[in-house]
Amino acid sequence: MNLHEYQAKDLLAARGVAIPRGAVCYEPLEAVITARHLKSEVVVLKAQAHSGGRGKAGGVAIVSREDDIRARAAAIIGKRLVTRQTGAQGLPVAAILVEEVLPVDQELYLGVILDRNTARVTIMASPAGGMEIETLAREHPDKIFTVSVHPFIGLKPYQARGLAYRLTDDRNIAGEIVKVITTLYEIFVGYDCTLTEINPLVITGDRVVALDAKVNIDDHALFRHPEMGRLRDRTQEDLLELSARKEGLSYIKLDGNIGCIVNGAGLAMATLDLIALHHGAPANFLDVGGGASEQAIADAMSILLEDKRVKAVFINIFGGILRCDVLARGVIKALNRYGARLPVIARIEGTNIDIGKQLFEDSGLPIQMIPSLDEAAKLAVEAAQAA
C-alpha cells in the first residue's frame, strides 16, 4: 500500500523532520489562498497521485505570484494523471500539495529498503539526490553509500553518523541528517514498510528539508497498523483489483482479451506466458490462492464474466489444497448466474479431478475440458481470436 506524498510528509513532520511550508488543497481556490498565505515568491503545485514521474507528466507546476494560480491548479485537480508508470488510463488526481519553493544548496538522496539477499534493512544515502535511485545506481554507483542494519540491534547512531558524514563535512548539517535518517528508519520498521524515501532531501542554508517523500507499506503487515490502513486512497487502485482483494483473490488487470483463472501465483504467471507464447493476450492475472472456497471461485469467475473485454475464459487449476470439485462447483455457480455467453476452456488436474470433471459434464454448460495444458492454452487463444 502506498501513501500520498503529503501523507508521507505528515509522518516525517510529526517526528520533527523539516518539510516545506504548505498544505494539501482539494479545490483550485484553496490553492490560491494557500499560495497567498505562504508569502512565497514562487510556489509549487504537486499532483497527489500514486506514481513516480509526475513532473514529466505535467503533474507538477512551479508558479509565481503573478501567474494565474487558480487556472494552473484547475489544470491538475480533478484530472487524470498519465505517467509512464500508470498505463494509458492514468490515475485520478483529487488533490494537490501547494508548497513554498526553497533555495537549494544541495540535493541529497535517502532511502530505506529491506535487502532480500542479506535479509537486512538497508539504508541508502547519496550526495547526488534529485534523480531516481535506479538512474543513480546505473550512472553513479560510487555515489551511493549504504549501511546494513542488524535486525535485532536496530539502527545505531554511529551508523547514521557514518552516512551523514559521507554527505557533508558540516557538523550541524550532519547532525540534522542523522535525525532524518533515524526518523526514516523508524518509520520503515515502525510501519513495516517496503520503502521509505526522501528524494530530494535538500540542504538550504543551515537546514535540511524533505522536498519529496515516499512511504510504501507492506500489505502483509497492515494488520498491526490499522491507523495506516485508514490512509489508503482507493481511488488510486483499480476497482476490479480492489473487489478481488476483498474476496481474498489476487487480481491484476492486463490489456488482452483472455480471462484467466489459475491457482497459485507462479502457475498464474506461467499461464500468462503460455498464452503469450501462443500469440494470445491475457486480460488479467488472477490467482485464486490455495484455500479458495466455492464462493471465492464463483466470485473470481464473476469478475471475468463482468469484464466486457474478455472474449474467452481459460481455467488452469492444479488441485492441491484446492480441490477440483470445489473449483467446478464455483465455476458452474457463476456461469449459471451470468449465462454462458463466452467460450470456457478448462484444464484441471490434481486432487478430486474425477469429481470435478463429472460435475462439469453433468452441468450441461459448454465447458471444453482439455487434459493437455499446452493444447488448452492454444485453444483458448483461438477461441478468443474467433470471437
Partner: protein, 290 residues
C-alpha cells in the same frame, strides 16, 4: 540418500491441533513421514490420531528426539515458533504460513543462520523426498515418483505442474523443495544447489524461478562456477508489468531489475537449459537424462 529430509527424519508439527496442522500432519504421515509429535501450548498429553502433543518444542524434542519441524501458525505470531524451534535444536524448519510480515521473517532468519539451521519458507509448500517416502509440507504426495531429478522452485502449484510432467514422462524426483514466495525466505536456490551438488541421489535439477529479486541470477552465477549437473530452468512472469505484485509478495519487478528476461539470460549463459514453454519441462528433462 536425499537432502534436508529422509526416512530417518523425526518430524514434529508446530500448531498440530489447528485444522491445517492436523490435516497435513496426518497427510505427511500417510505419505510415509516419521511424524513423532506436535506442539500446541496447553495441550500436552493429548494425541492427534496417535501423534503425541507437547506444550513446547523443547519438551517435544526431549521426548521424541525431533529434528525437523513443520510450522502452521498464524502469520501474526510466526516469528516466535521459528525462534522456539531453533532454540530447541531443530535442524530443518519448514514454515508453511503465508503473509508473515517480511521484517519478522528477516529477524527470525538472522537467528536461524547464526545458529546454522535451515529454514524452508515461509509461504512454501515444503519439501518432499519421494525415494525416502518423506514429505514435510502440503504438496500432493501422489504426483511424485522416486527418481534422479531435484526440483527447486519459488512457487507451489507451478512446482506440482512440473513434478506431474516429470512423473508422467517417467522421470522421478530425488527431492523437491519450495523455497517460498515471500521477498525474504530462508533457503535460496544457491543453498539448495549446494546440497544437490553433493547428493549422489540427484543427477539433474529443475529450477523454477520467477520475476522479482536476484535469487535466479545468483543461482546462475553458482551454476556457472561450481555446479556440475544438468539444470533445466523455467522462469515465470515474462508478461508481468513493472511495479505490480504478482500474487507472491516476492514477485514484483522494481526499478528495471528482477525481470524474467534478465534471469533467463543469466541462466542461459550459465549453461542451464532454459525452457520457454512450461509444458515442455518434463519432455526436455526426459531427453537430457536419455
Amino acid at each position: 540418500m536425499a537432502i534436508l529430509v529422509n526416512k530417518e527424519s523425526r518430524v514434529i508439527c508446530q500448531g498440530i491441533t489447528g485444522k491445517n496442522g492436523t490435516f497435513h500432519s496426518l497427510a505427511c504421515r500417510d505419505y510415509g513421514t516419521n511424524m513423532v509429535g506436535g506442539v500446541t501450548p496447553g495441550k500436552q498429553g493429548e494425541y492427534v490420531d496417535g501423534i503425541p502433543v507437547f506444550n513446547t518444542v523443547w519438551a517435544a524434542v526431549k521426548e521424541t528426539g525431533a529434528n525437523v519441524s513443520l510450522i502452521f501458525v498464524p502469520a501474526a505470531h510466526a516469528m516466535d515458533p521459528i525462534l522456539e524451534a531453533v532454540d530447541a535444536g531443530i535442524e530443518v524448519i519448514v514454515c508453511i504460513t503465508e503473509g508473515i510480515p517480511p521484517l519478522d521473517t528477516a529477524c527470525a532468519l538472522h537467528t536461524v543462520r547464526e545458529e546454522g539451521r535451515r529454514l524452508i519458507g515461509p509461504n512454501t509448500p515444503g519439501v518432499i523426498s519421494p525415494p525416502e517416502r518423506c514429505k514435510v509440507g502440503i504438496m500432493p504426495g501422489y504426483i511424485h515418483k522416486p527418481g534422479p531429478v531435484g526440483v527447486i522452485s519459488r512457487s507451489g502449484t507451478l512446482t506440482y505442474e512440473v513434478v506431474d510432467q516429470l512423473t508422467k514422462a517417467g522421470v522421478g524426483q530425488s527431492t523437491c523443495i519450495g523455497l517460498g514466495g515471500d521477498p525474504v525466505v530462508g533457503m535460496s536456490f544457491v543453498d539448495v544447489l549446494k546440497l544437490f551438488k553433493d547428493d549422489p541421489a540427484t543427477e539433474a535439477v529443475v529450477l523454477i524461478g520467477e520475476i522479482g529479486g536476484a535469487a535466479e541470477e545468483q543461482a546462475a552465477k553458482y551454476i556457472k562456477q561450481e555446479f556440475n549437473k544438468p539444470v533445466v530452468a523455467y522462469i515465470a512472469g515474462r508478461l508481468a508489468p513493472p511495479g505490480k505484485r504478482m500474487g507472491h509478495a516476492g514477485a514484483i519487478i522494481s526499478g528495471g531489475t528482477g525481470t524474467a528476461q534478465e534471469k533467463i539470460r543469466a541462466l542461459s549463459e550459465a549453461g542451464a537449459t532454459v525452457i520457454d514453454n512450461l509444458t515442455q519441462v518434463g519432455a526436455v528433462m526426459q531427453k537430457i537424462l536419455g
